[in-house]
């Protein structure tokens, strides 16, 4: 049985494509190996048979008429732009790949709105109770202070204060209602604004808590923050980082350039 390697050598030998040393070595091997010699003979016969295949007469001439030639010479302007399109497509595709890779590899570049929310602490329920108790005992002055604050601050602090408010108490709600804001003289916020406004800042929360009860401690306030924001969590609208925006733009540009390049090439 002739190995594949031997067959490659025989094939190259037949076409006189072996180096002198390899050729001499194979010729020595051929004198000693009758099987190899028979394989060479068969291969030579096969190639000769292929070479002797009848030639087909051309069915017609393939010459071009002057009219055809003229038509072929009139190239579409798009065809002339093919090299430029090809280059632009390559550059755009490369930029798209780089920007996409960067946006994937740098999650820190994500906006805060897309950052995962911290998991609620186990003691959150207890803190809620404490906060509710303290808030319920809050003075009217504290109510006024928290309601008079700007919406961003008041919403955080107002959670606790609102529990003491009549309208909130009557409704039995834990979250501020539009009526609460109306009382303070602010325009009624949309649910989305409420969700954003519901995100408390530590300072504002502490201020509100200390307003409600001057002896509220910071630990209780921190726990309360976590709990207070939990019921109001609504998925924020998807925000894109600048890198992601660039990636989308470059992707669209690349797709357009690919289409133009293809069209130019076809012409």
């Amino acid at each position: 049985m002739i190995s594949e390697q031997d067959f490659i050598r025989l094939s190259a030998y037949l076409d006189n494509q072996l180096a002198a040393a390899d050729r001499a070595a194979l010729e020595v091997q051929l004198t000693r190996d009758p099987e190899l010699k028979a394989a060479l003979r068969d291969l030579r016969l096969q190639v000769r048979a292929l070479r002797a295949l009848p030639r087909r007469r051309v069915p017609r001439n393939f010459t071009l008429t002057p009219a055809q030639a003229e038509q072929l010479r009139r190239r579409s302007p798009l065809a002339g732009l093919f090299p430029a399109f090809r280059l632009a497509t390559s550059l755009s595709a490369a930029a798209f790949a780089i920007v996409t890779a960067l946006s994937v590899l740098r999650p820190a570049a994500l906006p805060l709105a897309m950052a995962p929310a911290p998991a609620p602490a186990p003691e959150a329920a207890l803190a809620t109770d404490a906060l509710t108790t303290k808030s319920a005992a809050g003075s009217a002055e504290a109510d006024m202070q928290s309601l008079a604050a700007p919406p961003e601050t008041a919403a955080g602090g107002g959670l606790g204060a609102a529990t003491g408010d009549e309208s909130a108490t009557e409704a039995g709600a834990d979250s501020p209602t539009p009526e609460v804001f109306s009382v303070a003289g602010f325009p009624t916020p949309s649910p989305t604004e409420l969700a954003y406004a519901a995100e408390p800042t530590p300072d504002a929360a502490r201020q509100a808590l200390s307003g409600a009860d001057g002896q509220a401690d910071n630990a209780a306030a921190d726990s309360a923050l976590t709990t207070a924001s939990a019921p109001l969590e609504t998925p924020p609208p998807p925000a894109l980082t600048p890198l992601q925006q660039w990636a989308i733009g470059l992707g669209a540009l690349t797709a357009i350039l690919v289409a133009l390049t293809w069209a130019a090439r076809r012409r």
Partner: protein
Amino acid sequence: MPRFATDLYDALVSLTPMDEPALIRDAQRGDVNAFNRLVLEYQALAYNVAYRVMGEAEAAEDATQDAFISAYKHIESYRGGSFRGWLMRIVTNACYDELRRRKRRPAVSLEDMLTAPDGTENENGSVLVSADETPEERAQRHQLAEALQRCLDHLPDDMRMVAVLSDVQGLDYAEIATATNVALGTVKSRLSRARARLRDCLQEARELLPSVYRLEDEATT
């Protein structure tokens, strides 16, 4: 101009000596007559390569026509070297395009179904059949040609292309490398694999080989 007149003109033109580099330069300047001289010189080679690769007369004709149109459009990109290799590259690409088209829309013409794959039954077929052949020898050669074409048809496209260019048309490795746009080493290995597959495929027709060619072989070795 009547067809016979153009054929006669083409025949006379093809008999005059050809200065290939000058014709290429003129064709690059847009001279369609110079380009047509080149077409007449190479159309038999181009058509036969296409025919052996495609295995169908109609497909070979389409591929050859496309190849010469493409050659005219791109002749400015020819930068020297073997013009035959450059042209065969265009023919090769045209064949691949035509093969892809035919794979999407397979179609076999009635003519191809009624004639032998090598076309020897057809009036346009063999032009190199010896007049000294006996009817038995001719039948045997016909049978062998059929077997060879059938085995060529079963090769993968890239191997078939190399086998046709090398063993059927006799191009050297460098020209085949140019025509198929691969390295010389790839040509060598691809050709070797194609020949090995053809050898296996031809096992059934093996007994025909010695009776047709053994005497010639023994005379040359």
